[in-house]
C-alpha cells in the first residue's frame, strides 16, 4: 500500500466535490467544503451529460440466444485440435510461441474482441479477483451470450454488407439493419441466414432480408460480383467487362452466373419518363403491369398535377415515401443477354446466355426451382467447399487479425492458404458446427494460440504470419468509440436503433391493391413524418441522448454512414459504399479527437462512469481505480509512483486525476490490443 497520510475529512470532502467538477474546478470549492458530500454534488452545476446515460444500466432491449455451457468440454477439445495442428507446423518452421496472456491482458482482449468494448471497472475487478479455475472459459461464454457480442458482431457485418439506412433515396432499410442485428442475437445459422438474403421477396419492412438484394438495386451485374466476393471469397468482377489473361474467369462465365439472378425485380414506381429518356430506356425492365408500380406512378403524377395547379413544387419527401412503399422485391425467370460490345469468339453479342455455375453444380433438390433459388442453393450448399472455407477464413481473421488466405476475398490457385491443413480443418469444423458462427468463434478464442501475447505484423513485408498468437491490432473505430463510451455512460444501451416493427408500423402504405387515393396516401406520409422520420426525431434524440452534438450510443446503434468528421469515420469506419471498408490508418485528426474531442470531454464530466467510480472509492485507491477503468489492469510499482506523483504534484487532486485519466487514454497501450 502506498504511504499516503490518512485522509482527513476535509480532504475527502474536497475530493468528492472536486471529482464531480473535474472539468471546471469551481472557485467555490473551498466554500463548499463544509456541506455534506451528497448535497454538495446536487447543489453543484447542472450535469452536462444527459440523464439517460447517467442512469443505472438496464441493459439492451433484446434477448440473446443462450450459450450451451454443457458443451464447454467439447469446445476445449476442439480448441486443442486447432492448437495441435498449429504446434506441429510451428515445430517444423521453428516458430517460438510468445508468452501467454496475463489475466488482465486476456480480460481486455476478450471484452474487446467478443464484446466490442473494454470492461468496466467492476467487471475488471470481479474477473481479476475471481478464483474460479475456469474463469476464462466462463467469461468467453458470458460475453458471447450478451448484447455486447451482438453489437460487436453487427459492426463486423455492417462493414462487409455495407449496411446503411438509405442506400438510395427510395430504399428505406432501417428494418433490414434491425433484422441483421436480431439474426445475430438469435444466432441464426449462417447458411440459412445467407440463403434468406439471397431469396427473399417483398417489401423492406415486411421481409427485411430483401435489403441484401436491394443494396445493389439497378446493378444486377455488380450484385453478382459483390455476392461472390463476400460469400465465396472469389473476385470475378473484372470478368464483368472482359477476359483477362491472369484471371481464371471469362466474361462469358460471368454472364452465365449472372443469368441465374437476372430476373430479380424490385418493381419501383419511377418518375414519369421524359420523351428522350424513354428512348434510352428501350429494353428497361420496369414492368407496367405491376399493380404497385402503377399505383406509385399514378400517385406521383397526381402530386405533380396538384403542384402545378397550386404553383408549388412537388414534395420530394412524399415522392420518396411513395417510392419506398413501391419497392417490392420479386423474381421471375428472365433471359440474360451478352452485352452489345461482346468481343470474344465463343458467342455473339446480344446472344442469350444459359445459366451455369462457376464450379460444381446446382444441388439436385434445387434444380426444379427458379434461377434465383438455384443460385442460392448452390452458393450456400454444404457441398460447395468455397462457402465454408470463406466464412471460416473470415472468422479466423476476426479473431487473429490475419486470414489464412489474404486478401479474404481473393481465394485463387496461386494464392493458397498459408496453413493448408488448418484451413481444411477449419472448413470441416464449420460444417460440423452447422455454420454456427458464434460457436466457431467460441472454439477459436479457447485455443492456447489465441491466448498468447500479440505479434506485430505487416503484410507488406512479404512474410507469412505464423499464427502463434493473434497479430497486434489497433482497436477498430467501433471498439474505440464503444470503449470510451464505457468510460462515459453508465447505460450505453440507453439509445438503440429503431426496431423493424416500429418502423413498419409508422411507414407502411399498402399499394398492392386498389389505388388508395392521393389524400389517403398523403395522410399516411404525414403520419410517418410525425412519428419516425429522421428529421423530426433527431432533435428529440439529441436532447435525450446527446452531448456536444454527439449521440451517446454504441456504434452499432448509430445511423450510417456517419459524417466524415465524426470520431468513428476519423478512426477508419468506412462509408458503407465499399465492402470491408474499415481501416486502421493513423492520421493527425484522430489524435486531435483523442486530445480535445467531445467524447474525451464527456469522459471527464461529472456523472461519467469513471468520475463516479473515483467518487465511490477512497483517495488512495484512486490510482487503482483509474488504471483498472482505463487500461483494465492494476498499476505496477513504477506506474503507481508516477501516478501518485502526478496527483500530488498537480494544482489539486481533481486536476491530477483528470490528467491521469487523460494520459492513460492517450497511450499506445490503450489504442492497441495486445
Amino acid at each position: 500500500m502506498p504511504t499516503t497520510p490518512p485522509p482527513r475529512p476535509l480532504l475527502v470532502a474536497l475530493l468528492v466535490a472536486a471529482a464531480c467538477a473535474v472539468v471546471a474546478p469551481s472557485a467555490d470549492l473551498a466554500a463548499e467544503a463544509n456541506k455534506p458530500a451528497a448535497k454538495r454534488a446536487r447543489a453543484a452545476v447542472p450535469f452536462r451529460l444527459p440523464a439517460a446515460v447517467r442512469d443505472a444500466p438496464d441493459g439492451a432491449s433484446f434477448a440473446v440466444a443462450p450459450i450451451d455451457r454443457t458443451a464447454r468440454d467439447s469446445v476445449r477439445a476442439a480448441a486443442a485440435r486447432i492448437d495441435a495442428i498449429l504446434a506441429e507446423r510451428h515445430a517444423r518452421d521453428g516458430v517460438a510461441a510468445p508468452p501467454s496472456l496475463s489475466d488482465s491482458q486476456f480480460l481486455r482482449r476478450a471484452y474487446l474482441d467478443l464484446g466490442g468494448r473494454i470492461p468496466t471497472h467492476d467487471e475488471a475487478s470481479a474477473f481479476l479477483a475471481s478464483t474460479d479455475p475456469d474463469k476464462r472459459g466462463a467469461l468467453v461464454d458470458s460475453l458471447l451470450e450478451s448484447p455486447d457480442w451482438v453489437s460487436r458482431f453487427y459492426n463486423v457485418w455492417a462493414d462487409t454488407l455495407r449496411l446503411t439506412e438509405r442506400p438510395q433515396k427510395n430504399l428505406w432499410s432501417e428494418a433490414y439493419l434491425d433484422w441483421v442485428k436480431r439474426s445475430i442475437a438469435a444466432n441464426r445459422p449462417y447458411d440459412e441466414w445467407v440463403h434468406d438474403m439471397l431469396t427473399a421477396d417483398g417489401k423492406l419492412w415486411e421481409n427485411p432480408a430483401v435489403g441484401y438484394q436491394l443494396r445493389d438495386q439497378g446493378m444486377p451485374l455488380p450484385y453478382v460480383d459483390n455476392t461472390v466476393r463476400v460469400f465465396l471469397g472469389t473476385q470475378i468482377g473484372c470478368a464483368q467487362c472482359h477476359d483477362h489473361p491472369f484471371d481464371a474467369w471469362t466474361q462469358h462465365q460471368f454472364y452465365e452466373l449472372a443469368a441465374f439472378t437476372a430476373g430479380t425485380r424490385s418493381g419501383t414506381g419511377g418518375k414519369p419518363e421524359k420523351p428522350v429518356r424513354k428512348e434510352m430506356r428501350k429494353g428497361a425492365r420496369a414492368d407496367t403491369t405491376d399493380a404497385t408500380a402503377k399505383n406509385v406512378r399514378a400517385l406521383i403524377a397526381e402530386s405533380r398535377k396538384r403542384a402545378n395547379a397550386n404553383g408549388t413544387k412537388v414534395n420530394n419527401a412524399f415522392t420518396q415515401f411513395l417510392q419506398a412503399n413501391g419497392t417490392v422485391v420479386n423474381f421471375r425467370n428472365r433471359e440474360l443477354k451478352l452485352p452489345h460490345d461482346y468481343q470474344y469468339d465463343d458467342a455473339k453479342p446480344e446472344e442469350a446466355v444459359a445459366p451455369h455455375v462457376l464450379w460444381g453444380e446446382v444441388p439436385e433438390e434445387a434444380r426444379g426451382l427458379d434461377g434465383r433459388a438455384q443460385f442460392a442453393a448452390w452458393l450456400t450448399s454444404r457441398d460447395n467447399p468455397q462457402f465454408a472455407r470463406t466464412i471460416a477464413n473470415r472468422m479466423w481473421k476476426l479473431c487473429f487479425g490475419v486470414g489464412l488466405v489474404e486478401p479474404i476475398d481473393d481465394f485463387r490457385p496461386d494464392n493458397p492458404p498459408s496453413h493448408p491443413e488448418l484451413m481444411d480443418h477449419l472448413a470441416a469444423e464449420m460444417l460440423r458446427l452447422d455454420f454456427d458462427l458464434r460457436e466457431f468463434v467460441r472454439i477459436v478464442v479457447s485455443t492456447e494460440a489465441w491466448q498468447r501475447r500479440a505479434i506485430p505484423y505487416d503484410a507488406t513485408t512479404g512474410e507469412a504470419f505464423s499464427f502463434a498468437a493473434p497479430s497486434l491490432r489497433r482497436q477498430s473505430a467501433e471498439q474505440l468509440w464503444d470503449s470510451i463510451l464505457t468510460l462515459v455512460a453508465h447505460d450505453p444501451w440507453a439509445y438503440e436503433r429503431p426496431t423493424g416493427e416500429a418502423f413498419a408500423a409508422a411507414v407502411n402504405l399498402d399499394l398492392s391493391g386498389k389505388n388508395p387515393g392521393w389524400e389517403a396516401a398523403h395522410a399516411a406520409f404525414e403520419r410517418y413524418e410525425d412519428s419516425q422520420s429522421p428529421r423530426k426525431t433527431r432533435r428529440q434524440t439529441m436532447q435525450t441522448y446527446g452531448y456536444k452534438g454527439q449521440l451517446l450510443a454504441r456504434a452499432s446503434e448509430l445511423p450510417t454512414p456517419l459524417p466524415l468528421g465524426h470520431f468513428l469515420r476519423q478512426f477508419g469506419q468506412g462509408d458503407r459504399e465499399t465492402i470491408d471498408g474499415n481501416r486502421t490508418v493513423a492520421t493527425v485528426p484522430q489524435i486531435l479527437a483523442m486530445f480535445n474531442g467531445p467524447i474525451t470531454h464527456a469522459m471527464l464530466e461529472r456523472g461519467s462512469t469513471v468520475v463516479d467510480e473515483l467518487a465511490e472509492h477512497d483517495p488512495p485507491q484512486a490510482v487503482d481505480v483509474i488504471f483498472l477503468s482505463v487500461l483494465s489492469r492494476l498499476p505496477d510499482a513504477e506506474d503507481r509512483r508516477l501516478a501518485l506523483g502526478e496527483i500530488r504534484g498537480a494544482t489539486d487532486r481533481p486536476t491530477g486525476c483528470g490528467n491521469l485519466i487523460w494520459a492513460l487514454l492517450n497511450t499506445r497501450e490503450f489504442l492497441f490490443i495486445q
Binding site: 428501350k282 489474404e406 505487416d458 465499399t578 493513423a586 498537480a650
Partner: protein
C-alpha cells in the same frame, strides 16, 4: 509572400520543441526537426512549386465536361459551349473554364486499364497498380520526400477528404501522409484546448502518457505503433502552430467565399488557396459523387457547374495573389464514363479514354493534347497512360521524375510511375 508573424512563430517553435522534448522524448523531436532538411540534401529544388490536385472521385464523365461529342447519340442531353480556343468545345456547364482555355492544358486521351473505383483511384494517386505486397506512396508524399516541406509547423500535405482510404505515405515516413480535413467548412477540428486546461497541464498529460507507455513500447514495435508515435508528434506540433488560422475559412470575406461557391469543391478550393498561401506545399481536394450510373443528366449539371466555378475562381485568385506562377493545379479523375447511355439514363465505367486538366506552374496554357475518337470511346491520337500523366505533373512541378528511389524492400520506384512526360503541355 510576406508573413508578418514569422518572428512570433519562431519563438513559438521554441515552446513546442520544449513540450515535445519533455513529452515525447528527445529522439522524436530530433526526427521532427530533421524533416526540415530534405532527404536529398545534395539536390536543391529548382522551383518551390506547390501542387493543388482536385480529384473527382467516382469517375467524372469526359463526354459531359471537357470532351463532348455534339450532334451524336453519345452526346446525350448535355449541350455544348464554344471555348476561347477555336474548334474546342466544352460541356455547357463549364462556362467559366471555357473562357479561360488559354490558361489550361487539356489532356483528352488519358487511358487506363482498370474500371474499378478502388484500383483506379489508387493508380491515379500513386502511379502504380494496387498489389498486396506493397503500399505505394501517394504523389503528394513523393513530392514532400523529394522537395521537403516548407519551414513552419503546418503540415506539408493536406487532404480535403477521407484519409482512411488514401494511399498516404505508403512505405515512406508516416509523417509524409496528408493531414485529412473532413469538412473544409469546419476546418481542422479539435484544436482548441478547453479553457481549464493550461499549457502546463497539457504538457504534464503528454509526459505522463509517454511514461506509462514505456513497458508497452518496450514489448511491442512495428509500423503501426511507429505511425501512431509520429502522428502524436505531428499533432502536438500542429497544435503549437500560429498558422492554424489557415484552416479557418471564416477568416475569408463572404464575397470571396461566394465567388468560390458552396459544397466541398468550392470550400475545398478556397481552403487549398489559403493553405498554399500559408506554406503547405501539397493540397488534394477530393470530391465525391461523380459515379453517375443513373440520371446523369439530372445530377451532372449542378456538379459540373460547381467544379467550373470553383476551379476558375481558384485560378483567378491564385493569379491575383501572384501564386499561380509557383502553384501547379491538377484536375484528375480515375477513369471516364461510357459513351453509350444506359437504361437508367446514366453512364457506366469507361477506362479506355478520359480527360484531365492542368494549369499553373510549369504548364503551357492554350493546349489540347490528344483526342478521343468520334464517339469518345478510345484514344485517336496522343494517348497517354496514367503514369505518363503523373510524370507530366511531376515534370511541371520540377520534381525529379527520372530518378529511381528504392523502397525498404529494395524495389525501385519513380515519382509519376516512370512514364514519359508530355512535352507539349510543359512550359
Amino acid at each position: 509572400m510576406n508573413l508578418p508573424w514569422l518572428d512570433s512563430r519562431l519563438a513559438r517553435r521554441g515552446a513546442i520543441a520544449r513540450i515535445a522534448r519533455t513529452a515525447l522524448g528527445v529522439t522524436a523531436v530530433d526526427a521532427l526537426l530533421a524533416e526540415h532538411q530534405s532527404s536529398f540534401a545534395a539536390e536543391p529544388l529548382p522551383s518551390g512549386t506547390n501542387i493543388i490536385t482536385l480529384f473527382m472521385r467516382g469517375a467524372m464523365s469526359h463526354l459531359d465536361t471537357f470532351d463532348p461529342k455534339p450532334g451524336r447519340e453519345e452526346q446525350g442531353e448535355t449541350g455544348v459551349i464554344q471555348t476561347k480556343t477555336p474548334g474546342i468545345v466544352f460541356g455547357e456547364s463549364m462556362k467559366k473554364l471555357a473562357g479561360m482555355t488559354d490558361k489550361l492544358a487539356i489532356l483528352r486521351a488519358v487511358t487506363t486499364q482498370t474500371g474499378a473505383h478502388e484500383q483506379g483511384t489508387y493508380l491515379m494517386r500513386t502511379s502504380y497498380p494496387q498489389i498486396n505486397s506493397i503500399r505505394h506512396p501517394a504523389f503528394g508524399a513523393w513530392a514532400l520526400h523529394a522537395a521537403g516541406r516548407r519551414p513552419g509547423d503546418l503540415p506539408g500535405y493536406v487532404l480535403v477528404g477521407n484519409g482512411n482510404d488514401h494511399p498516404g505515405s505508403g512505405f515512406l515516413d508516416p509523417a509524409l501522409s496528408p493531414v485529412p480535413v473532413a469538412d473544409p467548412n469546419a476546418g481542422l477540428e479539435n484544436t482548441i484546448r478547453p479553457a481549464y486546461l493550461t499549457e502546463e497541464n497539457f504538457e504534464r498529460r503528454l509526459s505522463l502518457a509517454e511514461k506509462v507507455d514505456r513497458d508497452f513500447k518496450a514489448s511491442y514495435g512495428g509500423n503501426q505503433i511507429e505511425a501512431y508515435d509520429r502522428m502524436y508528434a505531428e499533432a502536438v506540433r500542429l497544435l503549437g502552430s500560429v498558422d492554424l488560422e489557415a484552416f479557418d475559412l471564416s477568416k475569408e470575406p463572404e464575397s470571396v467565399r461566394d465567388r468560390y461557391g458552396a459544397g466541398t469543391i468550392g470550400k475545398g478550393c478556397l481552403l487549398a488557396r489559403r493553405l498554399v498561401e500559408s506554406g503547405v506545399r501539397v493540397v488534394e481536394v477530393e470530391v465525391n459523387g461523380w459515379d453517375m450510373h443513373r440520371e446523369l443528366f439530372d445530377e451532372l449539371p449542378t456538379k459540373a457547374a460547381g467544379l467550373d466555378k470553383a476551379l476558375a475562381t481558384l485560378l483567378d485568385d491564385l493569379s491575383e495573389r501572384g501564386l499561380l506562377g509557383t502553384t501547379l493545379v491538377v484536375l484528375a479523375t480515375e477513369f471516364g464514363r461510357t459513351p453509350k447511355i444506359n437504361e437508367n439514363a446514366g453512364r457506366d465505367h469507361h477506362p479506355a479514354v478520359f480527360s484531365c486538366v492542368l494549369a499553373g506552374a510549369g504548364v503551357k496554357g492554350g493546349v489540347v493534347h490528344g483526342a478521343s475518337d468520334e464517339r469518345g470511346h478510345s484514344p485517336d491520337s496522343g494517348g497517354i497512360s496514367v503514369a505518363d500523366f503523373n510524370t507530366t505533373v511531376a515534370a511541371a512541378a520540377g520534381l525529379p521524375w527520372e530518378k529511381e528511389f528504392h523502397a525498404p524492400n529494395g524495389r525501385p520506384f519513380k515519382i509519376g510511375g516512370g512514364g514519359t512526360p508530355v512535352r507539349e503541355v510543359l512550359a
